[in-house]
């Protein structure tokens, strides 16, 4: 604000309005985030004090014969987890959204039903699918038998080569509602006149989609991708619920979130280590940062060229 002499001032009521939010956010979010980054350059001594150790924690994480395979394994698994979401969740989300914007009966009902799994807790979803895929109960097997695929059933969650794709697809099943709603929002925002004009000009349906709708929803594709990326590299609950902190069988479902938890709190015989935990968190931070910057670089500029 400007005072009588044209100088900028900071009136007391602004402190009242902004104070609580800034204090809370700084103290319980930004400070822990920054301190956590700092901690990754320290090592914990036996007497619980911290000593500066430069990049030693990172070197250990990347090269130690116990830690490195876990870190690279979790990173690889997490990338795979992300690609499954990009290849299955987001295209199906877009398909469902483009069906929901068509005029017809029951669209509101379908929308409500399709979004339903998204509001439930990951813990519940994880257990539900664990039960369904459990060979003891045999629900999945008998359903596959009905469509003639019975002999392909396997206890996927227990097999190292199938456990990760299975958990990824369960996560897709749960969160399909998010890309669906975001794409739906983008699609209903496209003016009808635009589509009608194209149809009058003789555009076929696929041309209308690829030449008009697709470029217009490109910003949403960017947002959906970055949200998927951040969500996936922050995931933990589903793997922890279905496979425990050890992310079995033989670490095949281990992702960054479970690695972070184990490193921080320890597992079985190995003690937890706060500064190594902070080091894993710093790596997660860097990975997420790269994703967000890539999004800003690729999409924030493009948006302008396609804006109406």
């Amino acid at each position: 604000m400007l005072d009588l002499h044209g100088r900028r001032t900071f009136p007391a009521f602004l402190v009242v309005f902004l104070g609580p939010a800034i204090v809370c956010y700084t103290l319980f979010m930004m400070y822990p985030l920054v301190e956590s980054l700092v901690l990754s350059f320290f090592s914990v001594q036996p007497d619980n004090s911290y000593v500066f150790s430069g990049f030693a924690n990172f070197v250990k994480l990347f090269t130690d014969s116990d830690m490195a395979p876990r870190f690279w394994g979790a990173l690889k698994n997490n990338l795979f987890f992300f690609f499954i979401h990009m290849l299955v969740q987001n295209p199906i989300g877009l398909l469902l959204a483009s069906l929901l914007v068509t005029k017809g009966k029951g669209r509101g009902f379908y929308r409500t039903v399709l979004f339903m799994p998204t509001v439930l807790s990951v813990v519940i979803i994880g257990f539900i699918w664990q039960l369904i895929l459990n060979p003891l109960w045999g629900v999945a097997e008998s359903m596959m038998r009905i469509v003639g695929l019975g002999k392909f059933f396997q206890p996927w969650l227990g097999l190292p080569e199938y456990a990760l794709p299975t958990t990824a697809l369960i996560s897709v099943w749960q969160f399909i509602g998010i890309p669906m709603i975001l794409f739906y929002t983008a699609l209903i925002g496209i003016p009808d006149e635009l589509i009608e004009a194209a149809v009058v000009d003789g555009c076929t349906e696929s041309q209308v989609f690829w030449r008009i709708k697709f470029p217009l929803i490109l910003p949403t594709i960017g947002i959906v991708s970055v949200l998927t990326f951040v969500g996936n590299f922050n995931a933990f609950d589903l793997i922890y619920t279905m496979k425990g902190a050890l992310a079995g069988p033989s670490y095949s479902t281990d992702i960054m979130g479970t690695l972070f938890y184990r490193t921080f709190f320890g597992q079985q015989l190995q003690l937890g280590n706060p500064s190594m935990g902070a080091t894993v968190a710093t790596m997660m931070f860097l990975i997420i940062l790269i994703g967000v910057l890539l999004y800003m670089f690729l999409f924030q500029r493009r948006v302008k060229t396609y804006q109406l």
Binding site: F28, T102, T112, S121, F265
Partner: protein, 284 residues
């Protein structure tokens, strides 16, 4: 559009049918697992295995699972904890968030843009990454295994997006409205209380979208407040299921009890929720 011949009409009708089939197919995939669990939670164990796809009837009906859950679990306490944590966090997120958004949208002051940027960092960077020092902080404040500790974390987590969205809604309110109030001698606090009702729909939508992740969170209850006294419903169910994993009746009933409140809430508010998302996006 005009349809000149019968072929076009037929093609459109076929397409409508095809759209329904795809939507029904995916709706069934979404509903089936949930329905299956609810159905079987009301059956005797024998029939859960013998006829998992059948609805419960007089012969197969049983509430044994629910009895076990209510006797053996802390689910009632867990529910109370979840309700306290969610409601209190939500109240402060909306209260602090709307005040900050009011200041950021209504006044030009030194550092306005910087504060907006500073507060928006938290939208993309998950608070979980600060867990190591957050736990240190909580233990030095004596807030480990307290609901207050959880509430403070959730307030910090919920503020960035709330402030971001409310700022964009509040900046659409015409200045004349506020100036009229000022001419009448209203204080800035009074003007805030006049602006608040104008963004009620946005506050409602943010409320619902902020509430769900808090209610469903497993990470912070597990790390900051894992004691039996402070466990929230998500953690409580997770622990109960782990313990009673071989008691199918109890497991199914616990799952149903944990999901029913949020499902009811969702079914009541789903229309508003989705409408507010789409309305917000069109405006932006």
């Amino acid at each position: 559009m005009k349809f000149d011949n019968i072929k076009d009409v037929r093609r459109l009708r076929f397409r409508g049918l095809f759209q329904h089939i795809v939507l029904i197919f995916f709706s069934l995939i979404a509903l089936f697992p949930i329905a299956l669990i609810i159905m079987n939670s009301f059956k005797l164990k024998k029939y859960i295995f013998a006829a998992p796809f059948a609805l419960p009837n007089a012969k197969t009906f049983s509430l044994i699972g629910y009895e076990t859950v209510l006797q053996r679990s802390n689910l009632i306490i867990n529910f109370e904890n979840s309700i306290i944590v969610t409601v209190v966090s939500l109240f402060f997120i909306l209260f602090f968030g709307s005040m900050a958004a009011f200041a950021l949208s209504g006044y030009k002051f030194r550092g306005n843009a910087f504060l907006g940027f500073y507060l928006s960092i938290g939208i993309m960077i998950p608070i979980r990454l600060g867990t190591v020092s957050l736990l240190k902080l909580m233990s030095s404040l004596g807030l480990v295994n307290t609901l207050i500790g959880l509430i403070l974390i959730y307030i910090a987590q919920g503020l960035p997006l709330t402030i971001f969205i409310l700022t964009s809604f509040m900046s659409q309110i015409p200045d004349e409205l506020k100036d009229a109030g000022r001419i009448d001698g209203a204080s800035e606090y009074r003007i805030y209380s006049l602006v608040l009702p104008l963004v009620k729909p946005a506050i409602g939508a943010i409320g619902i979208f902020t509430m769900i992740p808090i209610w469903n969170d497993l990470w912070f209850p597990l790390i900051v407040a894992p004691s039996a006294r402070t466990a929230t419903i998500t953690l409580g169910v997770q622990q109960f299921l782990g313990q009673y994993v071989s008691d199918w009746n109890a497991v199914l009933s616990a799952l149903v009890l944990a999901m029913v409140p949020i499902l009811i809430l969702y079914l009541i508010f789903s229309r508003q929720m989705i409408r507010s998302v789409t309305a917000g996006a069109i405006k932006a």
